[in-house]
């Protein structure tokens, strides 16, 4: 799906990419990690045909620079920072769907699944939406059409836990047919989403590893937490995950997306001294069934 041979890119006096060789095949979900200046964004821009470069880059069998429209029809891209577009939401959806030969309704449906009502906000300029709403709409424009290659730059950074759960479900629906390249500064943000990790440092691949593909992206975990005492800060933090108070601030109940468990546990770790009991249990029957079938 993606082939990169001896990819080099120089920006000013700096060699940002120094001879990358990569091959990413269908079904792979790759975490592209690395610190600032490692070359992640430059690599993504080379893949999108936005940068000139030395070396060969091929997506779905073609050079994205020479055959940009043919290649980009297969690519869904979510940028790290939402662009300050002044056009209204409805116009953006129509523009994307017209260019990509997609249906506006399908993009709006995906947005609705993520918790963004595109019809209600159709006259609202994109730039006036909140950070989370912008992110949901950008994800909807990438996932609401037929794409084989998903290039996602910190895609879930601005999403609330509920929307993150839906986002993981949307990725799960495509995991067998598509290639996903998910860029992030931190591996723990995307660890549960991927089955391969590529780390860049100063324009070189310093780690390329396959990881255990044990987490079902669509799974959900039922969770109950008991505290030693009520705590306002905890109530606020757990409330943001959609949990409900079932015992005057002493017990909380809710669900967490399976792929978000690491992030959730990271949040809980800040309140470790308060936690008297904690239970996490997979609730998605479809997931349990698929596990049982796989085990059998």
């Amino acid at each position: 799906m993606i082939q990169i041979r001896n990819l080099r890119k120089r920006l000013g006096r700096r060699d940002v990419l120094q001879g990358l060789d990569l091959e990413i095949t269908r079904g792979q979900r790759v975490a592209l990690i690395g610190s600032n200046g490692a070359g992640k964004t430059t690599l993504i821009r080379c893949l999108l045909g936005e940068y000139t470069r030395d070396g060969d880059v091929s997506l779905v069998g073609r050079d994205p620079r020479r055959f940009r429209t043919e290649v980009l029809r297969h690519v869904g891209f979510v940028p790290q920072l939402p662009p300050p577009l002044k056009m209204p939401v409805g116009q953006l959806i129509r523009y994307v769907s017209s260019l990509c030969g997609a249906h506006s309704d399908h993009i709006a449906e995906v947005a609705a699944r993520l918790g963004f009502d595109a019809t209600r906000f159709r006259h609202q300029p994109f730039v006036r939406l909140s950070g989370g709403q912008k992110q949901k709409l950008l994800i909807a424009t990438a996932l609401g059409r037929d794409t084989d290659v998903l290039i996602l730059d910190e895609p879930a950074a601005n999403l609330d836990p509920e929307a993150r759960g839906t986002f993981f479900e949307l990725l799960a629906e495509r995991q067998k047919d598509a290639v996903m390249l998910i860029s992030s500064h931190r591996l723990d943000e995307v660890a549960a989403l991927v089955n391969r990790v590529i780390e860049l440092d100063q324009g070189k691949v310093v780690l390329d590893d396959l990881v255990a593909d044990s987490v079902d992206l669509a799974s959900r975990l039922g969770c109950e937490i008991h505290l030693t005492r009520p705590e306002k800060a905890f109530a606020k933090a757990i409330g943001a995950w959609g949990f409900v108070d079932v015992d005057h601030g002493l017990a909380w109940r809710g669900t967490v997306a399976g792929a978000d468990r690491l992030r959730f546990l990271g949040m809980l770790s800040r309140y470790a001294a308060l936690i008297a009991a904690l239970e996490l249990r997979e609730t998605d029957e479809r997931t349990l069934h698929s596990r049982e079938t796989a085990n059998a």
Binding site: R45, T52, E70, P82, P83
Partner: protein
């Protein structure tokens, strides 16, 4: 073609919501209103009165404002969009580069030309309602000149945007170009050069190459057929071209210059990093 118009339409919608467009429209609308308030249609200069007099003044003021306004707003918005990540997102969509570039230029041209044109049409309608004679020939010629001037500076602006990597650089370059063209107007450096015994051919060549001077001479020649109000270079030019020849040149040259610079901008845009 569908993608080109789609991009043009998107750019029009973006411009309609942009602050620069509001200011731009306000400036030209106010200009016409101000000319009416000052009673310019009642005054007479070298035989010109009524709407002709108003249009002459309007077109002269347009020459002073339009180039710098078009240059700065074009480079600011395009280079600004690039810096802010708008290009990164929109150019990751399957839009052909030609459709993107020329679509943006077409959309921007409409947004730059329409307010200037509508202000002139508004003046004409208002004058007509007041019983003034409508100078159709002058109106048609000046419309052509405004198209040529808008296109010329838009072409230069988009060329700068194609090569400049930041808003600051783009804005600086645009300002310097405008300043150089302004300095080489007939009554400023060009006049001094002639006084300093620079060959007449050189002065005339500079005057012919400067789109602002071409526009200035083009607008003044109907108002001042002997060009006595203009500097020495314009006088030589009129001798060589004749009135009709120069009118045609004043329409064609800025249009061609804008097209050529826009084309170079496109070639550089396509060859280099898009963002």
């Amino acid at each position: 073609m569908q993608h080109l118009w789609l991009t043009a339409w998107t750019d029009i919608l973006e411009s309609l919501r942009a602050r620069w467009f509001a200011v731009y429209t306000l400036v030209f609308g106010s200009l016409v209103a101000l000319l009416f308030v000052l009673g310019l249609t009642e005054s007479r200069v070298m035989g010109f009165t009524g709407l002709s007099r108003l249009m002459l003044t309007y077109i002269q003021l347009s020459m002073a404002i339009l180039p710098i306004f078009v240059l700065i707003t074009t480079v600011r918005s395009l280079a600004g969009d690039r810096e802010a990540g708008v290009f990164e997102y929109l150019l990751a969509l399957p839009v052909p580069l030609g459709a993107w570039y020329w679509g943006k230029l077409a959309g921007r041209f409409l947004m730059v030309f329409t307010p200037v044109f509508l202000a002139m049409v508004g003046a004409l309608l208002w004058g007509g309602l007041q019983g003034a004679d409508i100078p159709w020939l002058l109106f048609t010629y000046y419309t052509g000149l405004l198209i040529a001037l808008s296109w010329c500076f838009l072409g230069i602006g988009i060329f700068i945007s194609s090569i400049a990597r930041s808003v600051d650089v783009a804005q600086g370059a645009a300002f310097i170009i405008w300043l150089v063209l302004l300095l080489f107007l007939d009554l400023i450096l060009l006049g001094v050069m002639i006084q300093q015994q620079v060959p007449a051919e050189t002065a005339v060549a500079i005057a012919l190459a400067n789109p602002m001077q071409v526009f200035r001479t083009g607008t003044m020649m109907l108002f001042d057929p002997q060009l006595v109000m203009l500097g020495p270079a314009a006088y030589v030019i009129l001798d060589n071209f004749g009135t009709t020849g120069y009118m045609a040149f004043a329409l064609l040259y800025p249009t061609a210059l804008g097209t050529v610079t826009a084309w170079f901008g496109y070639v550089l845009f396509r060859r280099g990093d898009l963002i």
